[in-house]
């Protein structure tokens, strides 16, 4: 399955060019930028305001089962009489919270490993090989392997997300570090006695800031993608906890009779993944001629 | 597809007209915010068996001229504003594309400067050469191959037969250029335009290619337009020279006259800038200043800012092409001063 990750040298270079601030015009100027920003902001808002905007709570049973979409239930009800729209809203929240919690874990580990090359060259090189190896696996296969090891469930998804982000951020950090170390002024600083930490803080980090930002957007799209995939297969978040993939999985048997059950979360998945993915594209200044 | 390409051209040529006559050709380039005048009122003519050299610095418009004649100018941003290009009386610019295409390489052919990029890297040289015969003459692959060998031998490539199956990158620079020449001449065109054919080559190879072009021209009685910035290269084989500057022809004359007695300050400066072995110890004479920006041309003569003969008048009045004699012209108000200096 194709999962977008920024791991080529050119991506890094381009990211470096936006080490500074992001201009609002760059973000909203193009139609792609506008659409993706709106989608991303929309989804984040839904996630944050979920309890407020959802018409019902996510586990409230009471209404009739399998009601068609109507005034009381915009997307209908599921097999237990729960309002589908509310469940989708809470699922969006779960997915994004999951992403926001799991990604940094992997990102920090990966970045530390990636930057380790500045202190211990061999550790850095080994890390690079490990990164390559992990990235060689199709994302979903990796997720399945993790689910196997840790018993399918929410924790497994979280760990899978964290693991996949280790090499992704690791390559970024290592690449940025290597690029900087080759610069003359860095070598000069070193010969003047600057410590490695100082070089990291002053030279490397500011330069990979842009790429890190772009990668974060991609990682969010990726994380939701992983949750969706694993849960649809039954290996991710288990019912009754509402997750986007889990809702699709629950709704699949009823697809011909209550298509909205499955369409709601599917479209939510599509919007989040598209939105953050295109946002990353925009931030990366990828030209589209 | 094949049938159409073999159709007779259906054009009426005028045998009394010059082989190639460019008249008042003006070409503009549309830039982001303004327009660059790449060619301004360029006129010259060419007869069979004649070699005309278009001489000038890079950016003076000589390549644009070549491309416009061939019809391979990138049409946005380029745009032919006015003028005519007549091949044996027929104005190429007025022809519909299909007819124009039928003349390319069959009547008017071109040799590019960089042979490596002009050839398609994934096809053999034999294929690209045979293509000329299979597409234009409808020959069978076998016959086309035989003709291809002939052409490679005509351009003096040793071991022609086995070289047919080699790829462009397997040839040396000089050999590659010969291959390109072979392709250009495959269909016996009457006009050959050589755009800086030797600039990318070693000096020794340059001489060989030049002499090859000269021989081929003579053998086939072709009109040869040689485009270059190198006066030395031109000296041996040019019959006539047209000097270009900033999109205009500034001097046009028989080669001998240009070398002996230039009639335009620019030509004179060019000649003087050629280093001579017997001038030891003297400074190299370069032409001061830079060529003008074609989108923001100053009023008056384009060369005035760099000209040592320039006077008041030159900066306000654009000089027309003055006729010095039936064969010579110069775009300078003070050409007499230049000639006699």
């Amino acid at each position: 399955m194709t999962a977008p990750t920024a791991h080529t040298a050119e991506d890094l270079e381009r990211g470096q060019s936006i080490g500074g601030r992001i201009r609002a015009s760059a973000l909203l100027g193009t139609s792609r930028g506008l659409v993706s920003t709106i989608l991303a902001v929309l989804m984040i808002t839904i996630a944050i305001l979920a309890p407020v905007i959802a018409p019902y709570s996510s586990d409230q049973q009471g209404a009739q089962s399998f009601l068609s979409p109507g005034a009381g239930n915009l997307l209908g009800t599921d097999e237990f009489g729960r309002d589908i729209l509310s469940r989708v809203i809470f699922a969006v929240r779960l997915d994004l919270v999951l992403a926001v919690l799991a990604i940094p874990v992997g990102a920090i580990i990966g970045t530390l490993l990636g930057l380790s090359g500045i202190w211990a060259k061999s550790l850095g090189q080994v890390s690079a090989r490990v990164f390559d190896l992990i990235l060689g696996f199709p994302t979903l296969i990796l997720g399945i392997a993790v689910a196997l090891l840790l018993t399918p469930g929410l924790p497994a998804v979280a760990v899978a997300i964290a693991i996949i982000n280790i090499p992704v951020f690791g390559r970024l950090a290592r690449g940025g570090m290597l690029a900087q170390l080759n610069r003359d002024y860095v070598m000069a600083a070193k010969s003047l006695g600057a410590s490695n930490t100082r070089i990291l803080l002053k030279q490397v980090l500011p330069n990979i800031r842009g790429a890190l930002l772009v990668q974060s957007a991609i990682s969010i799209a990726d994380a939701v993608f992983i949750e969706g995939g694993l849960s649809i297969l039954g290996l991710g978040v288990q019912p009754p906890t509402p997750s986007l993939g889990g809702l699709v999985q629950s709704g699949l048997p009823y697809i011909t009779t209550s298509p909205m059950y499955v369409l709601g979360p599917t479209i939510a998945l599509a919007l989040i993944i598209l939105g953050f993915g295109l946002l990353a594209d925009t931030l990366n200044n990828r030209s589209e001629t | 597809m094949k049938l159409l390409e073999r159709a007779p051209i259906g054009l009426h040529f005028d045998d009394a007209a010059p082989l190639l006559a460019v008249e008042s050709l003006s070409v503009d380039f549309r830039l982001r915010n303004n327009v660059a005048h790449a060619l301004r009122n360029v006129s010259f003519s060419l007869e069979a068996g004649e070699t005309l050299a278009l001489l000038g610095e890079s950016g003076c418009g000589k390549s644009v001229t070549a491309k416009t004649i061939m019809g391979i100018l990138d049409v946005p941003p380029g745009e032919v504003k006015s003028g005519s290009i007549r091949f044996r009386g027929v104005d190429l610019l007025k022809l519909p594309e299909r007819k124009r295409r039928s003349l390319r390489s069959t009547k008017v052919a071109m040799v590019f400067q960089d042979a490596l990029s002009a050839l398609n890297p994934v096809f053999t040289v034999g294929f690209q050469l045979s293509e000329m015969f299979t597409v234009h003459r409808g020959m069978s692959r076998h016959d086309a191959r035989l003709k291809a060998v002939e052409m490679l031998e005509a351009v003096r490539i040793p071991d022609a037969k086995s070289r047919l199956d080699d790829y462009p990158h397997q040839f040396s620079g000089g050999m590659r250029q010969r291959v390109v020449i072979a392709m250009a001449l495959a269909l016996d065109p009457e006009v050959l335009i050589a755009d800086e054919p030797t600039t990318a080559l070693d000096v020794t190879v340059q001489a060989q290619i030049m002499s090859l072009l000269d021989d081929l021209r003579r053998d086939r009685n072709m009109g040869l337009i040689l485009i270059t910035h190198d006066m030395g290269v031109v000296a041996e084989i040019a019959d006539r020279i047209a000097v270009m500057y900033a999109g205009q022809i500034v001097e046009s004359a028989d080669a001998i006259d240009v070398y002996r007695q230039p009639a335009h300050p620019y030509t004179k400066a060019l000649l003087e800038s050629i280093p001579r072995l017997d001038d030891r110890g003297t400074e190299l004479a370069a032409i001061g200043g830079l060529p003008p920006d074609l989108s923001g041309l100053p009023a008056g003569c384009s060369f005035a800012p760099r000209c040592r003969f320039a006077r008041e008048e030159c900066r306000s009045d654009s000089p027309p092409l003055y006729d010095i004699s039936s064969e010579r012209s110069s775009r300078c108000h003070y050409w007499e001063a230049v000639v006699s200096s």
């Binding site: 799209a221 969706g228 995939g229 297969l233 011909t256 589209e288 | 597809m1 061939m70």
Partner: protein, 314 residues
């Protein structure tokens, strides 16, 4: 060609070797003993021990790895923990389904990708090209499971012309087999078609500005010939390599598609094994996936070499 393949062999073997070690280690070093997880949360110590005995988990790690590796190479893939069947049989019974799916998807993605790519690449309209580019962006970001669900709804609910679940075997006739293949293969092919299309389009557009195109015009060749013969031949190389790379992505997506369209292939086997903690099967399947990916990659590089003489003759 054969030479080229032989030269790639060492690198391929190294990759396979490294991957096998990684897979092996990850599964062995997971938290908790594998025997315990297999035996279940309520197992007693004796039961766990019995499982260990049965699976040879008592042996030192290198030996276990060696046994497995030798088994892989000699064709003895071990025995399923759950139902005691030899894994080779398990895989064999489902390989056809997955293979058909992968092949159909590859054909579709190539056809679709190349068609779109050539359409955009040969077009002079910048507007068409940017619409196509936006189209590609959307298509390749959508996960396969999303497109699958959308297709399921479209053809299961709105326009019920194609079957949305199950599969047919060749006994029922090629037609039947194909009707059951269309939707899942399409879902699988879409994101990859988009990548190929975009790659080809960009490659052709760049090629249009190359000197050999201009020289081709000077040679009096028609625009059609230049496009379809000269430019395409040059750009095909990139497309082919892309197809090769995309293939391993197909494998991951196949798992999802098989589940969603109820096809009984290797993907389903994988999931079932994960759910029943039959880790030997999972181990073998992952290894198979990696091996296929490596081989296909090498093959596409060979194909590239055959199309681009500069690479072949270096």
């Amino acid at each position: 060609m054969g030479n080229y393949l032989i030269r790639r062999l060492p690198a391929m073997l190294v990759t396979l070797f490294a991957a096998s070690i990684l897979i092996f280690l990850i599964l062995r070093l997971a938290p908790g003993s594998p025997a315990a997880t297999i035996a279940g949360p309520d197992a007693s110590a004796e039961q766990i021990h019995a499982v260990e005995e049965k699976l040879g988990l008592n042996a030192p790690l290198p030996q276990q790895y060696g046994t497995w590796l030798i088994g892989l190479v000699t064709g003895n893939l071990g025995v399923s923990i759950i139902n005691d069947q030899p894994i080779t049989t398990l895989i064999g019974s489902r390989v056809e389904s997955t293979l058909l799916l992968a092949l159909a998807a590859t054909v579709l993605m190539s056809l679709l990708g190349i068609t779109l790519g050539v359409l955009g690449g040969s077009s002079r309209s910048a507007r068409l090209r940017s619409y196509l580019d936006a189209f590609y962006s959307v298509l390749l970001s959508l996960p396969t499971y999303v497109t699958s669900v959308l297709l399921l709804v479209l053809f299961g609910v709105l326009i019920p012309v194609l079957p949305i679940s199950g599969e047919a075997s060749f006994e029922d006739g090629i037609g039947e087999v194909l009707t059951y293949l269309v939707l899942p293969a399409t879902a699988l092919a879409i994101p990859h078609a988009a990548v190929i299309g975009r790659l080809l389009q960009n490659s052709m557009q760049e090629a249009m500005h190359e000197d050999y195109v201009r020289f081709g015009i000077a040679k009096g060749l028609s625009r059609a010939r230049i496009l379809w013969l000269h430019v395409l031949r040059n750009s095909m190389g990139t497309a082919i390599v892309a197809i090769g790379i995309r293939f391993s992505g197909l494998l991951g997506g196949a798992v999802v598609v098989e589940a969603l369209f109820s096809r009984n292939g290797l993907g389903q086997l994988m999931i079932g094994s994960v759910l029943s903690r039959d880790y030997v099967v999972v181990q073998d399947l992952i290894m198979l996936a990696v091996a296929i990916a490596v081989i296909v990659q090498a093959l596409s590089e060979v194909a590239l070499a055959s199309m681009d003489p500069r690479i072949r003759l270096s």
